[in-house]
Amino acid sequence: MIAIDIKSKMYPAKGRAGHHLAIAELQLLLQSGEFVCLVGPSGCGKTTLLNIIADLDRDYEGSVNFKQHQTHPKIGYVFQNPRLLPWRTVRENIELAIEDNSSSENIDALLEVMQLTQFQHVYPERLSLGMSRRVAIIRGFATNPDMLLMDEPFVSLDAPTARQVRSLLITLWQQRPHTVLFVTHDLREAIALADRIVFLAAAPMKVIADMAVPIPRSERDDEQAIETFRQQLLHDYPALK
């Protein structure tokens, strides 16, 4: 279980003195192996929250507790742009993220699932955006993380590619059920992926709703079911519009 409890996170205000409050009194509990989507308007501080969890940002009041591993939890971070090293091949990019270099079979298996085996010795510049995103996802999983953070990893992909990568992601996650915190502003995407969706409001960021997705995993590719649930959510929570 992972307990996130942010008392406050301030940012210097743009163009004038003082600070403004980005996050206030945000509590979030994640069960291990749970796939949680964070949905909120852009600029509401979702990336800031992920950076705090990943220990990239320490300038805040509060705590992030990994119950089993108090000290150095392993984080897999899939950023909004893939952030691959252009001068290292696909395989080298994945290997570099792993602390012990002993898991070559593990990488083989991940490449297989993500359908990238024949591209493993290629440099990232030769990959399409969708393929680069898949490499970034593999890199996240390859570290065998205590928690996987994903920051709108499918943004700017065309719809069919996004659908394909989404389904590969779910296949992978079902084989290796790590705890995932997935940020998106696309409600349909959240419904297709998540066990649970947390809705956020901006300035300062706070939780406005937190609910399980009632659609069984086997029916998640049913566009109609997703759309019906989306309409119901929008009806129940007008703030989501």
């Binding site: 150095h72 392993k74 984080i75 952030r83 090293l85 001068w87 290292r88």
Partner: protein, 249 residues
């Protein structure tokens, strides 16, 4: 056809240069511009007697030592200044001052302060080159991709891995730039250093030939040096570049 033309053009242009030189030499008919064949003969005699290899070797050794010191120190300081705004603000003026001191002044001061010694000569060259390296590498360190550094931190790369796989490849073009401009600058300064205070090396020899008005020898030594620098570019720097840039499309 295209490829043969591309390889033929540099050779052809060299031949034209030689032809112009030959024509000028015949037209002027003066000791001040000996013909290419005369210079070639002097060069060959110099090689046979061991004079050219000896003095060239001494100068190259000074070049390698002073250049290596300047590059290593310059890279380290450049990275620190590029990543630390406060230190950069403090030392920025120093850099501008050192950049604008004429090479001749540093050389004379080093000889006055530390005597006509080998280490004073090397120090003078290092002081002249160092600010250039620092400024170039500082630019590179400022331009480091924050996203990639953040990625390295989140995946716990550690210092060594980050330096080797994230920082070094990004600094590489700047280091190569500093190397190329550095070699060109350093060897010109070394000649002056040798001319003023050493009793061997290319600079010393050129000074000697100048006093004797021996233009053929001056040109022979120049050709030897240019050839060595060209070989360095062709055999060391170009292959290094090709290897480091292989990931580019």
């Amino acid at each position: 056809m295209l490829i043969s033309l591309r390889t033929a053009v540099p050779g052809l242009s060299l031949l034209v240069l030689l032809a112009v030189w030959q024509l000028l030499a015949v037209y002027l008919n003066s000791n001040n511009l000996p013909a290419p064949l005369v210079v070639g003969n002097v060069f060959w005699q110099g090689c046979l007697s061991g004079q050219i290899p000896y003095h060239l070797g001494v100068t190259l050794l000074r070049l390698i030592v002073s250049f290596s010191i300047a590059m290593l120190l310059g890279c380290a300081i450049g990275i620190v200044l590029g990543r630390n705004k406060k230190l950069d603000a403090f030392f920025d003026n120093w850099l501008i001052i050192f950049l604008s001191i004429p090479a001749l002044v540093t050389i004379i001061l080093c000889y006055v302060w530390f005597g006509l010694t080998e280490s004073a000569a090397i120090l003078a060259v290092v002081i002249n080159k160092l600010p250039n390296v620092i400024v170039t590498i500082r630019e590179g360190a400022r331009a480091l991709d924050q996203d990639l550094l953040e990625m390295a931190r989140s995946y716990r790369f550690g210092k060594r891995k980050t330096l080797l796989h994230v920082v070094w490849p990004q600094l590489y073009p700047y280091i190569m730039g500093a190397t190329r401009s550095g070699l060109a600058l350093v060897w010109k300064i070394i000649l002056v250093v040798e001319l003023l205070g050493r009793s061997n090396g290319m600079g010393y020899q050129l000074h000697l030939f100048f006093q004797l008005f021996d233009v053929a020898s001056i040109l022979a030594y120049t050709i030897a040096f240019v050839a060595v620098i060209q070989m360095l570019e062709l055999l060391v720097l170009k292959p290094l570049d090709t290897k480091a840039q292989r990931w580019r499309r």
